[in-house]
Symmetry: C2
Subunit: 384 residues, 2 copies
Amino acid sequence: MRKEFLMIPGPTPVHPDITREMSTPVFNHRGPKFKELLEEVTEGLKNFFSTKNHVYILTASGTGAMEAGIVNVLSPGDRVISMINGAFGHRLAQISESYGASVEKMESDFGEPLKYDLLEERLAQDTSKEIKAITVVHNESSTGMMNDVARLSRIRQKHPCLIIVDTISSLGAVSFPVDEWEIDVCLTASQKVLMMPPGLSFVSVSKKAWDSMKSASMSHFYFSLQRVQEFFDIGQTPFTPAVPQVVALRKALELYFSQGRENVYHRHEVVFQALRAAVKAIGLELLIKEEQLASRTVTAIKAPEDLDINQLRSTMRENYGVEIAGGQGKLSQTTFRIGHLGGIFEMDIIAAVAALEMALLEQNQEVELGSGVKAAQQTIMQMQ
Amino acid sequence: MRKEFLMIPGPTPVHPDITREMSTPVFNHRGPKFKELLEEVTEGLKNFFSTKNHVYILTASGTGAMEAGIVNVLSPGDRVISMINGAFGHRLAQISESYGASVEKMESDFGEPLKYDLLEERLAQDTSKEIKAITVVHNESSTGMMNDVARLSRIRQKHPCLIIVDTISSLGAVSFPVDEWEIDVCLTASQKVLMMPPGLSFVSVSKKAWDSMKSASMSHFYFSLQRVQEFFDIGQTPFTPAVPQVVALRKALELYFSQGRENVYHRHEVVFQALRAAVKAIGLELLIKEEQLASRTVTAIKAPEDLDINQLRSTMRENYGVEIAGGQGKLSQTTFRIGHLGGIFEMDIIAAVAALEMALLEQNQEVELGSGVKAAQQTIMQMQ
């Protein structure tokens, strides 16, 4: 037996108080008790999203929320610009294409910044306002880059198109003011910053996006947000929800706000900085070199050429109980990733760095044991 | 405080051993531990479905599985016959239409048998084999009628169309041999006979349906079964699954098979017969009079004209802790329903009948206290 450290970009370790809620006996999802719960967690989610928009709860993975965020507001043939610099950016484009949108991909290499200037030009040229939406991933967990959605929002300001943002692995870990940035569709999932198990995802919809819904004609049924709204009005969901997760959500929101939003942001910043310092001290290379562009919730690390990533991961898992992620998409052979969101705290990152050092040594890499840990310790102490 | 009896057509009471599994710490869904779990529960589900077909696991309500069962095997414009005699039959038609199928509705009144003969005629006339699929609900929980899917399957025998069956509220409670009846798509959900919480649904796909998938062109992404298959091949799901429910599923299947399939069928039959006898003894009217046509998992009861159904339900809930369901769709003003599937056992039905008697009396209905209970007791003893 050993203690397990789940340090992938989600699911994150579930808080024990939330775990306990998962074993609440299931009750009628069409009764007064559920109505009260649904209304309470919806208010909490609006607060979590920093929005006055309605936030809808779906029984689905985050990808279900991505699909809901697209198929409800667009029609086949609609021109969509997909800003892409990683695997999840591609996913938003792929969903849009699957439902018949005419997608223009503005691609950067994995780990390179988005093409903000190109988008600005393209929107300025679009005098007939053909472009209906921009899709973008805020936190590209495949590369560990955080995209500048505030800047995208400013670029979009004079154009009527919608902005659809996947904040699955970031919402709640850093400031992301949905209303201030005029985000039309914002979506996230339960198993990330909220420290919950997977099973639910959430979508906020602006007034403008809601207006688009009225004429949008992409096919949908299970993910119909209009149907979710109709049932919300009577305190229900259209289809049987994952009741344990909805109960757990109440506790997750309570824990989030009891920590204090700013404190959660700060904790994510500390853990991020500590890991970054450690990686450098160990002598490894960060995929995202510029700190300002780096994700606060997941860090991708370049593997030395002679390192077997799968072997590294299984050594960390089997010998030290630390579960990290491999690279994603194009980067699967050259990087590995450490998730540090939600249920990951300062001492978890110390454990992860120590395990990484030992596993590297076991693979005959040159590492000074404790070097990374010391750098992480110093960062944590400085930022206290 | 009072003890709660959840007697709606699902979710059903979760078995305590399964509830405990729900609080298993979440682990990496892309690691060896999940692979082993996924393979084990998939084998168990194939056994549960009585099929050699692959059974796919989706993180979604049953309606998500309905959608998956349609959009993966059909194309827009495809001619589909929807056999309808209740709210869920309508739902299958509505999903098909939402994705562009050309749906012929063969409707019977709510609570009337399906139009088997009409279907037989229609298929015989279809010499050009234009009809691509038949959709049908096995157990129409909106009315408490169980449709004769074996008969539909025989009728379909000489026609190449697919048969897509919703067995959400029946699979596992009565014999439903998927392979023997040549069911192409069969789907169910976790919160029914398996005594699990909601959050997962399951779809089996025949060789013929799998062949249709290759050319099917309805839009889909989240519910793509081809993607689920690709990821199954490496021991994963394409998107983050509701891990607690997948863990709980292992226990649910273990409990199901440890009871013995035939014993589970028998228990459902006993509870069904006991409730029916009780309803008659109380002097109420069953919606489905003919026993052979009646559902073994949910019973709809006609409300006396002067009975306020909402008041009856809230009295049962508030005074006796027994949660029953109202009528559904067209029947919402005239019937109420008692669910008796999955986690409902003999003594639960006794409690429900006793609560019903008392609540009726409190609403000034003529009832002899104990009359229904006695009839239920007698049935239970006779069937031991």
